[in-house]
């Protein structure tokens, strides 16, 4: 198979952009659910980077790593959503503004 066309750096650029947008979501949104989705977005940006480098070097270890990232993301989503569920039962809200028990 011939590797052609779009250079790896363009993929890196898109991955950097997606990672930054996810970071903005984590930093400025108030809902814990949206922050969780933003974390998933950041993980996906890193996955894109891994796959792009995997093609650049002609080795498949990067693609294997994407597998493990997905498994960790699935575990994180399951546990995190259970935590959000428990907090919602307690506070009737998922806004992080209301979770300041340790702050004051």
């Amino acid at each position: 198979m011939e590797t052609v066309g779009v250079p790896t750096q363009y993929y890196q650029l898109v991955a950097a952009l997606l990672f930054t947008i996810g970071l903005v979501g984590v930093l400025v949104r108030r809902s814990a659910l949206i922050i969780f989705m933003s974390i998933e977005l950041m993980l996906n940006a890193v996955n894109l980077s891994f796959v792009a480098f995997s093609r650049q070097h002609g080795q498949m270890d990067g693609q294997i790593f994407v597998f493990f990232v997905m498994a960790v993301a699935a575990a994180e989503a399951g546990v995190g959503l259970a935590i959000i569920l428990a907090v919602f039962r307690h506070k009737q809200s998922v806004s992080l503004q209301n979770m300041n028990l340790l702050k004051d």
Binding site: M1, E2, T3, G5, Q9, Y10, Y11, Q12, L13, V14, A16, L17, L18, T20, I21, G22, V24, L27, V28, R29, R30, S31, L33, I34, F36, M37, S38, E40, L41, N44, N47, L48, V51, A52, S54, R55, Q56, H57, G58, M60, D61, Q63, I64, M70, A71, A74, A75, A77, G78, V79, L81, A82, I83, I84, L85, A86, R89, H90, V94, Q97
Partner: protein, 170 residues
């Protein structure tokens, strides 16, 4: 040529969907935008000769994980928050910090081409690159131990989720 066109299409849709995900008010809309991002990325994986990863991306991410998200969003029935973003200085600080990180990432991406240590990209990929057979072979030989550890991690996550979601503890 076709790859360039598809790359542009997928990258633009990924960025637009992700912006929509971060700045939409309704959590269900946010989740659906995230599905859009995941599908665009799966298209890019196909362009990068990672067909099996692309299929897994759709099955596991857009299928399983996002259904879990949507399930929780609809279960909680959260109203859209009235101030969308964090109030006060935290918001400006967040944007500033993200911008700084983006500039750093940009610098790394742009400067890596001139680095001496970086080997030249491979012109011809090995046969079977990205195919399920080849991925399975590497996964069950070189990466066998991490694979087993991952299975334990998933089991712990299942137990943890069940314990946390039980009504008595909450």
């Amino acid at each position: 040529m076709g790859e360039a066109i598809l790359f542009t299409l997928f990258s633009v849709s990924a960025v637009v969907f992700s912006l929509g995900m971060v700045f939409r008010r309704n959590a269900v809309h946010c989740a659906l935008h995230l599905v859009g991002v995941l599908l665009s990325l799966s298209g890019m994986f196909v362009l990068l000769h990672a067909q099996f990863i692309a299929a897994i991306q759709i099955l596991v991410y857009a299928g399983a994980i996002m259904v879990l998200f949507l399930f929780v969003v609809m279960l909680l029935n959260v109203r859209g928050e009235t101030p969308l973003l964090t109030p006060g200085a935290a918001k400006g600080f967040g944007f500033l910090f993200a911008f700084i990180v983006f500039v750093e990432l940009l610098w790394v991406v742009v400067s890596q081409g001139g680095s001496e240590a970086e080997p030249a990209p491979v012109r011809v990929l090995p046969p079977g690159f990205g195919s399920p057979a080849e991925i399975g072979r590497i996964l069950y030989t070189t990466w066998l131990f991490p694979f087993e550890v991952t299975s334990i991690l998933l089991m712990i996550a299942v137990v943890g989720a069940v314990v946390l979601a039980k009504r008595k503890f909450a």
